[in-house]
Every structure is written in C-alpha cells, then in structure tokens.
C-alpha cells in the first residue's frame, strides 16, 4: 500500500513539473527558443496570487485570473523587449538573453518583495481524502486534473484552430509561413502569452502544494521541468506531460526505495540513459538538420 502512496506523491510532484514543462515545450516547439525565464514568470505569478489572495483576501478564483493576466502581459512585454529584436540573431544570443531575463526577474522580485520567505495559503483547503489507506490531498488531485485539462486544451488548440495551424506553420518554417501570409510576430507573441498564462497557473499550483514563496522559488522547479521537457521530447506537448510525471515518480521512488541522498543522481542518470537511447526524448520526433 505504501508503494501506492509513494506513487501518488510522485504523481503530485510530477504533475507540477509537467505543468511547468508544458510552458517550456510549447514555446520551444513554436518559437524554437528555450525560455529560461519561464521559471521566474512562475514565481511572479505565485507572488501576484499571494498578494491578491493571502494579503488582500480576494476570491481565490479571481486571484488566479489576476495572476494569469499579469503573467500574460509580462510574457508579452518580455517577448517584445528582449526576444523580438533577436528574431534573426543566432540562437545562442537568444538563450543568453533568456538567462539574463531570468536573473532580472529574480532581482526585481528581491527588490520589490524582499527575500524573506512568505507562506503561501493554498487556494483550496489543505485536506486530503482517504481511499482505503491511500491518502491523496486535494491539491494533488487538482494539479493532476488541471494538468490533463491544459494538455488536452493545448493539443486541441494547436491541432484544430486557425491560430494553432499558424503556430505549427511558424514552427516548421518561419520564412515560408510569412510568405503564406501568416503574421509570424503576432503568432510568436501569442505563444508567449499562452506560455506565460500557463506559468501563472503552474506557480499557483506549485506554491499551493509546497507553500514557501521566495524570489528563487521558480528557478529549481524550472530547471527540473526543463529536464522533464527534454526527457519527454522537447517540443512535444504530450511528451512534456509524460516527462514531468515520470520525473516526479522516479524522483520519489528513488527517494523511497534507494536513498534520499542520491535521488537526484538517479533522476539525472535516468535522463542520460534515455537521451543516449533516444536522443530526441521519449516522444520527440527525430529532426533532420535544416539548413
């Protein structure tokens, strides 16, 4: 029975990674850039929700919507100011800029909100249900449900809508997409807006499950989620979901059955093995080098 408990807590951790990984992978899949600032947008989202909900006692639903709005705007602004001017630059320049934006956000948060840890009140009651010896907290259930819902909505959006089609076109070939009359800049901006909105949700869920909030809250989960995205095949939305869940489960089972001291070594060891066998990740499509 305890195995199931470990599995559930792994699922809980994994679904948080998965939501963050969805944001990473979507931006990478469409804009072909690694947005390392994603983890910090998550932190901003969590702070906005913290202030709205815990400090000013707004309705939790409204707080989350507010956090999403702020993060969406923030994502668009970051994209316009930092990434758009680099559309034609080598990808390394964009990567370094993303790291810069990440530090900028962290330091601004330090300046505005100080680094004293804040305790985030969960947006739903911190209770759990008992299913024959198996305890599952509401937060875990909510996180998994939200994660699945986001994955389904995103996949449908990208495959069925006109904007989704434009995104896929931009992802395949920016130049050709532009020639076909697709507004590449708007499409990429929308991608960032969606990614950042998701980051806000991820931030709220992350801090509801693990309620300490500091300006560096987003950075470590961000890196783990990036690992999850690579694990599942970066650019693939179901891959990010699968990668996130697996990463969380492996981490927790390694802690439970092998040793808490070397759980990280095991997680990253598994990542290396997977990448050796399947360089594109679990669900990633092997890509030909485009020139």
């Amino acid at each position: 029975m305890s195995f199931l408990n470990y599995l559930v807590s792994g699922l809980s951790l994994g679904s948080v990674y998965a939501i963050i990984a969805l944001g990473y992978t979507m931006v990478y899949g469409i804009a072909k850039m690694l947005n390392f600032a994603h983890g910090d947008v998550i932190m901003v989202g969590a702070y906005i929700c913290f202030f709205a909900f815990t400090r000013y006692g707004l309705n939790p639903f409204i707080s989350v919507i507010l956090a999403m709005l702020v993060c969406t705007c923030l994502g668009i602004v970051i994209e316009k100011l930092a990434y758009k001017p680099l559309r034609q630059a080598p990808s390394l320049a964009v990567l370094i800029t993303a790291i810069g934006v990440s530090y900028l956000l962290q330091n601004l948060a330090l300046l505005f909100w100080s680094s004293n840890p804040k305790v985030f009140n969960p947006i739903i009651p911190n209770k759990s249900i008992n299913l024959g010896g198996l305890t599952v907290s509401y937060i875990t259930l909510l996180t998994i449900l939200v994660c699945v819902a986001i994955m389904i909505v995103l996949t449908t959006f990208i495959n069925k809508t006109k904007l989704g089609k434009a995104m896929r076109a931009v992802s395949e070939d920016k130049g050709a997409a532009q020639l076909m009359g697709i507004d590449v800049n708007t499409t990429i901006s929308v991608t960032f807006a969606i990614g950042s909105g998701l980051a806000a949700i991820a931030g709220v869920l992350l801090c509801s499950a693990y309620p300490n909030l500091t300006p560096t809250t987003g950075s470590m989960p961000g890196i783990k989620a990036f690992t999850a995205a690579v694990f599942g095949g970066i650019g693939s939305i179901p891959g990010a979901f699968l990668g996130g869940l697996l990463l969380g489960i492996i981490e927790n089972l390694a802690k439970a059955y092998i040793s808490t001291q070397i759980s990280d070594a095991i997680v990253f060891g598994v990542l290396i093995i997977v990448l050796l066998v399947k360089p594109a990740g679990l669900l990633g499509k092997p890509t030909r080098e485009k020139v």
Binding site: G100, S128, Y210, T260, D264
Partner: protein, 396 residues
C-alpha cells in the same frame, strides 16, 4: 542594424537594473547604523564593531534579530557614557562570497573588532579572514566547529554544532521523550550535517533508537512527502530536525497534511519559525526547541531586554536577538577590563588583549549565567529546552 542598437541599449539597461537590484538590497540596511556613530562624546574611547549577517534572504530572520539585539546593547552602553561603541552590520545574505565582500567593506570602514557573522557557512569565510588579519572575532550564532577550529582569536556565543547535537540527544534520553527517533537533515549543509553527526554519535552512546534517517538538499527542499512517509512507516514518535526554519516549516505543513504528528525536536535554527510571514503557528504547536534562551525567563535583565525589544521592534525577541545582545556586552566587559583604546592600539594589539580577557573572564548574560570560554573558542553554558505553546516559546 537599428535593432541591434536597441538591443544593446536594452541589455545595458538590464545589467544596470539587476546591479541596482543587487546592491540596493545590501547597502540599504548597512547605511542606518553608521549614523549612530556621530553622536559619540568627544574624547571618549570609541570602538568600531563590525558584523555581517543575513539582513535579507532566506535566513534574514537570524540576521535581523542579531542586529536588533546588538543595537539595543550598543544604545545602552553608549548611554552609560564610558566606552562608546560604533556598530556597523553588513548584509551577507547567508552567502559566503557576499560575506567576503562584507568583511572587506568593514575593514575599509575601520573596524577594530568583529561581532562575527551570524550564520555558519559565511562565518567560515569571515573567521578565516579575521584570523589571518588578526581581528578579534566573536560570533553570536555561527555554530559550526569549522568557524573556530585552529583559530585562537575566534570565539562563539552560541553552542557549537557538536554541543547542539549531543545536547539534544542527552536531553531526549534524560527525559525519555521517545522510543523511536527519526532524523531529517540537509546533507549539503555544514550546519545540519554537523549537528546530525554528533547527535547520532551521542544517541549511540546513550542507547537511543534511531529508526530512520532521511535527507534532502538545496535542490530538493520542496517536497518532503517521501521523507515524512518513511518516518511515519518506521513508527518514529520523535523526529529530530537539525535545520533552519524554512524547510522545517514545509515539513510541518506536509506532515500535517499527511496526518503525521510525532514530537518535533529542533535546534537553534528552528528559532524564527514563529515570525515567518503567513506561517500558521498552530502547525508548530508542541515543537520542542533546544535553545539557551527563552523570552519568558523572569530575571530582571531579561525582562528589561524583552520590554525594550518589544517597544522598539514590536516583536518578542528570539535566541538570536539575545545572542547579539550578549555578544556586545561580553565585548564591552572584556574591552573595559583590558583598557582597550583604538587611538593608541592597532587591531592586532586589541585582538591579543581581548583574547587574553575572553579566555579568563566569566560573563553573565541573557543566554546563560557564569559563561566561560575555552582557548579553542567554545563557550560553556547550560542549554534549555523550550516548547512552542499557543504561538510562543515556553520553558519546559
């Protein structure tokens, strides 16, 4: 071309901003105490006391408390009219590299002696510097033995980690607090590791039954569900938490969600959990903390301190505040006895005179009566356990 220019300007702006963000945080708090120096009486002996500690950052509660406690002591001493203390505290954000810079800033400022560094990891750096440069160094709360090992001029006001670990084990054994003990510790942190090692050693001697040991690191300090589940499965009725309050607050929260309620036993790093913003103090109900100080001690010295602290900072002082207060008074006592005068002595001479005093004097303070120091820099005093009841520390 144009785009590139815009981008270059943007990047430059970002750098300026982030630099401003860094320095803004560390300069601000340091600026205030410097002003106090201006009031010193003409002709009186003036001693510049430097300190570093986390005034911002995850461990800020410790640094702030030490600073507050020390400032109360400095104000009291300066009012008495004899030796005048000028106190300056730099922010090190509990980061060894920043502590190095903070130390250098203090040397440039003209420090005569140092009231240490508040937390262990940065203190290992500043203590090594102070040893090499011959500045007298008394730390309020950096409890790692690495801080004092092999350095004749480095002293501690707090217990060393070995003392905290073995003290905790002894206390648990003497009071029959537990049948089965679990430990959760942070294995990439010298403070946590040091206490855990001596706890385990002493527990072995005393025949305590440690059923499981779980660890976490800086990278895995969010999810404790597995560690908690393993403690619960092992049937531990007491969990020893040799760590700082931030991860401890998460452990208490997650254990509560899992319906696990053993006796929690913390050491001095746990102090501060009650003043964390937004923390539900009912989660900490019944937590036992081994500390040499409790604010409800009814001695006149302590009541006076608590009243002043509450008036000035609106909080009940914790152990770190008391450590800071004691440090200043211990330095005052030694400086008075040794006749320290920086206008005729350089910092090396001051250091030697202070070391001679510290190894021979007896000091009565908030954190213990009849304290003495060994030549190795460790303090000897009696630890007490306090328990958290209704959101406050109560002596046991």
């Amino acid at each position: 071309m144009n785009m590139k220019k815009v981008f270059a300007i943007l990047l430059a702006m970002m750098m300026v901003f982030s630099l401003a963000a860094c320095s803004g945080g560390s300069n601000e708090p340091a600026a205030e105490p410097a002003e106090e120096g201006g009031e010193a009486a003409e002709g009186a002996v003036q001693i510049h006391i430097g300190a570093t500690g986390p005034l911002t950052g995850g461990a800020a509660i410790y640094g702030q408390a030490v600073k507050n406690g020390a400032e109360i002591a400095v104000d009291e001493i300066n009012e008495m009219g004899g030796i005048q203390f000028i106190f300056q505290m730099e922010d090190d954000t509990h980061d060894p590299e920043k502590a190095e810079n903070a130390y250098n800033a203090l040397v440039d400022w003209g420090m005569d002696m140092m009231m240490g560094t508040v937390t262990s990891a940065p203190a290992e750096v500043t203590a090594a510097d102070a040893y090499a440069d011959r500045y007298f160094f008394l730390t309020p709360s950096a409890s790692s033995t690495n801080v004092i090992d092999g350095k004749d001029n480095i002293f501690q006001m707090c217990f060393t980690d070995p003392n905290q670990g073995s003290g905790s084990a002894t206390y648990i054994a003497e009071n029959n607090m537990a049948e089965k003990i679990a430990i959760i510790w942070k294995n990439d942190d010298s403070y946590s590791t040091g206490i855990r090692n001596t706890f385990v050693e002493k527990a072995g001697e005393l025949g305590l039954n440690i059923v499981t040991e779980e660890t976490f690191t800086e990278a895995t300090k969010t999810d404790f569900s597995v560690q908690i589940a393993k403690c619960q499965e092992a049937g531990a009725d007491l969990v020893f938490l040799p760590m700082y309050y931030e991860p401890a607050s998460l452990i208490l929260n997650q254990a509560n969600a899992a319906g696990y309620a053993p006796t929690w036993f913390g050491v001095d790093g746990m102090d501060g959990i009650l003043t964390m913003e937004g923390f539900d103090t009912s989660l900490a109900e019944g937590v036992v903390v081994l500390t040499p100080y409790s604010a409800d001690d009814d001695s006149e010295l302590n009541q006076n301190f608590v009243a002043k602290y509450q008036e000035k900072f609106g909080e009940i002082p914790n152990q770190f505040a008391a450590d800071g207060y004691d440090c200043i008074y211990a330095m005052y006592q030694a400086a008075t006895a040794a006749g320290i005068d920086p206008s005729t002595m350089d910092h090396e001479a001051i250091c030697d005179a202070m070391v001679a005093q510290f190894t021979s004097m007896t000091f009565n303070g908030l954190t213990g009566a009849d304290m003495t120091w060994g030549a190795d820099g460790t303090v000897s005093k009696m630890p007490n356990a306090v328990v958290i009841e209704n959101g406050a520390y109560v002596g046991m």
